[in-house]
């Protein structure tokens, strides 16, 4: 070895702040997307323009929001549990409990009692999960799967017994009688004004008006509650000592225990809250998205909520984005079918092409090549067809989610002790 002098080495640890998908960055990205839509819709032939207009229409945005809320709430449930170290694959079952008890109590009394009952129903599901995983130390996934089976079994059984005889009120073994509406809100004046602007299809301005319009027109009280819960969860989990303790149980429960934190208690609290949130997601499906309990109503949204949480890297903002993305693309395909999804092809292609350029600039040739190839493929598809076949349109939200996950490479930062069994007094 010839080194006789110490060379100035790179610092082992740099002190820079960790990059995060900040709120500001998200807004910027959204604005960019809006501009892109405006530009493209101004450029395509007039026959194709309506398909682009619907992409930012207020109806689309409102529908996207209402589709995103149950997914986001379920995801938030997942977040609470996993931040305390308990994987909750039983969200689906807890949502089912929410739909059932929400509609049952809502029908018996009033919708707000329904909300309460649904949340309680979900919380009971959470409690069972907590007993199994925290007290008995059962594998979290097994317990979750069992709860999904149990919740489905119990509600179908009870629905048949309780709703079956209510045929005159519209009940059936698979469906509850309808429940009254939960109040919704419209910002007076603003909503109409925005709707007016939207109609003119002005460059960018109308797109923005559609976006905001969708967010201020006929917003259900539960939607507002859901948004508040996302923000509130962030606040509680990251800005309070309760949250600190709860998260510590997901990162290093033995350490938490050694500092006098009652880990079991916090895990219980987190998992029960998780169930309650999933229950609320179910209530939203039963009482806002429709007015009834309906067997199979959750349709796997619990799992999708879980996916949204993973998508969002175990953070409330991220999971809201994941839920939003899924809700948006689901609403898009549902409301407007093939033509609009067809328009989306072009937008995604352009987006990918831009991403390819960025990768090229960063000298990541492989990624640039892959992105460019996908972009080219989509453009060819767009040009070669007029619409996306109706039978394929239903795939949109799933495909979009998968593609976004695949292209947005990310470093997952799951809580360190997530899913690991923990026993009191066994730390080494």
């Amino acid at each position: 070895m010839s080194a006789t002098t110490v060379k100035t080495a790179t610092p082992a640890v740099s002190e820079k702040a960790r990059p995060r998908m900040s709120f500001a960055k998200g807004l910027l990205l959204l604005a960019g997307a809006l501009v892109l839509i405006s530009v493209v819709s101004a450029l395509v032939s007039s026959g194709k323009q309506p398909a682009f207009y619907t992409i930012t229409s207020s109806g689309q945005v409102a529908a996207a929001l209402s589709m995103a809320v149950p997914i986001g709430l379920a995801g938030l449930g997942g977040l609470w549990a996993e931040r305390a170290g308990v994987v909750n694959i039983g969200l689906e079952g807890m949502m089912i409990l929410g739909t059932f008890f929400g509609a049952w109590a809502g029908y018996q009394t009033n919708p707000w009692m329904g909300v309460l009952a649904g949340v309680l129903g979900g919380a009971v599901g959470g409690l069972i999960h907590a007993i199994a995983t925290v007290t008995f130390g059962v594998d979290h996934i097994i317990s979750g799967v069992a709860i999904n089976i149990l919740a489905l079994g119990a509600t179908t059984y009870l629905a048949k017994r309780w709703f079956g005889p209510l045929a005159d009120e519209g009940g059936s073994p698979k469906q509850s009688p309808s429940v009254d509406d939960i109040k919704d809100f419209t910002v007076p004046g603003l909503s109409d004004w925005l709707a007016d602007i939207e109609k003119h299809h002005w460059f960018f301005v109308s797109d923005l008006a559609g976006l905001i319009g969708g967010l201020v027109t006929n917003i259900s009280a539960l939607t507002i509650l859901a948004i508040a819960l996302v923000v509130g969860s962030y606040f509680v989990l990251w800005k309070t000592s309760f949250g600190l303790r709860l998260r510590s149980c997901g990162e290093n429960p033995t350490a938490a225990e050694s500092l006098g934190v009652n880990v079991y208690l916090y895990k219980y609290a987190a998992v029960v809250t998780s169930g309650a949130l999933a229950g609320l997601a179910g209530v939203f499906l039963a009482l806002v998205r429709s007015h009834i309990y309906n067997e199979g109503q959750t349709g796997g949204r619990g799992y999708i909520g879980l996916a949204a949480m993973l998508f969002g890297n175990w953070r409330p903002g991220g999971l809201a984005m994941g839920a939003g993305l899924f809700g948006y693309s689901d609403a898009l395909q549902l409301r407007n079918g093939g033509a609009t999804v067809h328009a989306l092809l072009l937008l995604v292609a352009i987006g990918l092409a831009l991403l390819a350029l960025w990768k090229l600039y960063r000298k990541n040739l492989v990624a640039a090549g892959v992105n460019a190839a996908f972009a080219a493929g989509l453009i060819v598809w767009y040009l070669a067809s007029d619409t996306v076949p109706n039978d394929l349109v239903s795939a949109t939200p799933y495909l979009v989610t998968l593609l976004v996950m695949a292209f947005a490479a990310q470093r997952l930062r799951m809580p360190k002790a997530d899913g690991k069994p923990y026993r009191k007094g066994q730390g080494k």
Partner: protein, 485 residues
């Protein structure tokens, strides 16, 4: 300042955990300040002014220092600005140099240790328990730690600490308790005892020494590493070199020791040689064959034995029985498999042999690896690796957390292997071990081999200061081993 010594599994940690309320005693009493107390949980202990720094750090990696410190003590100063100010105040008062907003994940061992101590002080502890605080520190850091502790002592705090390093125990403790298999066997005063006596009290045998006698170094190169460079993307998305142009040669019969503060690339060097990481440049040659591009499995088949730094993460399947652990890493080799199929009976038979030969204390080979104590797990790993007659043995911290009895055995085995012409790459934080066993010493600092030294002449203190980057080049002008080129 009270020191507690004893062999592995003597019950030191268990006793301390009882003092800290993490475990409940079956009988007996605990008195704090003359008052008999009953501790049901750490919270009880904390409220009575007992604080503990555990043998294995109790820190959440994804949390900031601030979060780690305030956790569980939010009532004192909240979790915000007031807490931050308090942390800075304590840190400054005792010269701990702790930064509240750093992520623990990014901290080195010594820094983590200080965070642990700060955690205890923050809670206003009057009795401080430190379980093996020095095991992972270099001498300078140990000195700094003891300076801190003395300062605390002078303020009237009581410090209880546990250590396997008898020298330091004798130099800093005011009182020493020796325990063995769960009972106190002696209470001694440091001034009236010697390390030798202490060791005898502990294990009933003589204090071992890692001293290597005659040199067995040949001039046939076994492992040659040249220009090895490895970059990694850190948390900030910045690429930086964790291994920077590493060059070294280990000959048959030679033990090459690498000294360095943890986190300076030793682990990465080992992983690169093992093929667990793909380097960005450089070549690795084993016994004349270029293995740079070969997968880990082939490298192992070609004769690399591996005693990993973290046996739980890299050396064992904790939930699997011993005989399956004997197969791990050598599944393609006899006696573990024949023609693609496992040979469980062959593996079982050989496991029995290893258990007997290497004195693995276990009632049988069907018990899970997890039910063995750490020292016995280590012996099993060493037995396994040596059974395949490696050409090169990579030994990372082979005696970490292992008591003096087992240490002797392990050192003997390394020496034995070396005599048979094995090349050994030794990485250790225990500088006595490093100096005692090695034929050649290298110092690693920030991904580079910055210095070399002759184990015959260097002292741990000199080596320690080189490890912190204070010196470079050849550390002694006295005649040392030949340069590689």
């Amino acid at each position: 300042m009270h020191a507690l010594v004893g062999e592995n599994g003597a019950g030191k940690s268990t006793l301390m955990k009882i003092l800290y309320g993490m475990q409940r005693p079956d009988e007996g009493t605990i008195a704090i300040d003359g008052e008999t107390v009953e501790l049901h949980s750490p919270a009880d202990a904390i409220s009575r002014g007992v604080g503990m720094v555990h043998q294995h750090f109790m820190l959440a990696d994804n949390f900031t220092v601030l979060e780690n410190v305030t956790l569980g003590a939010e009532k004192l100063y909240g979790i915000g600005a007031k807490a931050r100010a308090k942390i800075m105040e304590i840190s400054d008062a005792y010269g701990l140099g702790v930064r509240p907003d750093a992520l623990v994940e990014d901290l080195g061992v010594a820094d983590r240790q200080r965070v642990e101590i700060l955690k205890v002080l923050y809670r206003g502890a009057r009795t401080l328990i430190l379980d093996e605080p020095t095991a992972v520190l270099v001498p300078q850091e140990v000195d700094a730690l003891f300076d801190n502790l003395r300062e605390l002592k002078s303020e009237g705090l009581t410090v209880i600490f546990i250590s396997h390093k008898l020298g330091e125990v004798l130099s800093v403790a005011d009182d020493i308790t020796v325990i063995r298999r769960g009972t106190t066997v002696a209470s001694v005063e440091p001034s009236q005892t010697t390390p030798k006596q202490l060791a005898e009290l502990m294990v009933g045998s003589e204090l071992p020494s890692p001293e290597t006698r005659e040199s067995t170094v040949t001039d046939i190169p076994m492992l040659t590493v040249d220009g090895l460079t490895l970059c990694a993307v850190d948390a900030d998305g910045m690429r930086r070199a964790v291994l920077d142009d590493i060059a070294l040669t280990i000959r048959k019969g030679e033990v090459l020791g690498i000294a360095g503060v943890e986190g300076n690339g030793q682990a990465e060097l080992v992983e690169a040689i093992m093929g667990m990481r793909t380097p960005d440049g450089g070549t690795i040659t084993l016994d004349g064959r270029d293995i740079s591009k070969l997968p880990t499995r082939t490298r192992r088949e070609d004769g690399i034995g591996y005693i990993p730094e973290d046996r739980h993460r890299h050396g064992l399947l904790l939930e699997a029985p011993l005989w399956e652990n004997r197969i791990l890493g050598h599944v393609t080799e006899a006696p573990n498999s024949r023609r693609g199929l496992l040979d469980p009976s062959g593996a079982r038979r050989d496991t029995e042999r290893i258990v007997a030969e290497y004195d693995v204390r276990t009632p049988g080979i069907e018990v899970t690896a997890a039910s063995l104590s750490g020292g016995n797990q280590q012996k099993l790993i060493i037995g396994r690796e040596m059974s395949h007659h490696p050409k090169l043995l990579i030994a990372a911290h082979p005696t970490r957390g292992v008591d003096v009895g087992a240490q002797t055995q392990i050192w003997d085995q390394i020496r034995e292997a070396r005599r048979e012409g094995l090349a050994v790459l030794l990485i250790s934080a225990d500088l006595d071990e490093l100096i005692g066993l090695s034929d050649t010493l290298r110092v690693m600092y920030r991904g580079r081999l910055v210095a070399d030294a002759d184990p015959a002449t260097i002292t741990p203190e000199e080596l320690g200061s080189a490890m912190t980057g204070a010196a470079a080049g050849h550390l002694e002008t006295a005649e040392g081993p030949e340069e590689d080129r």
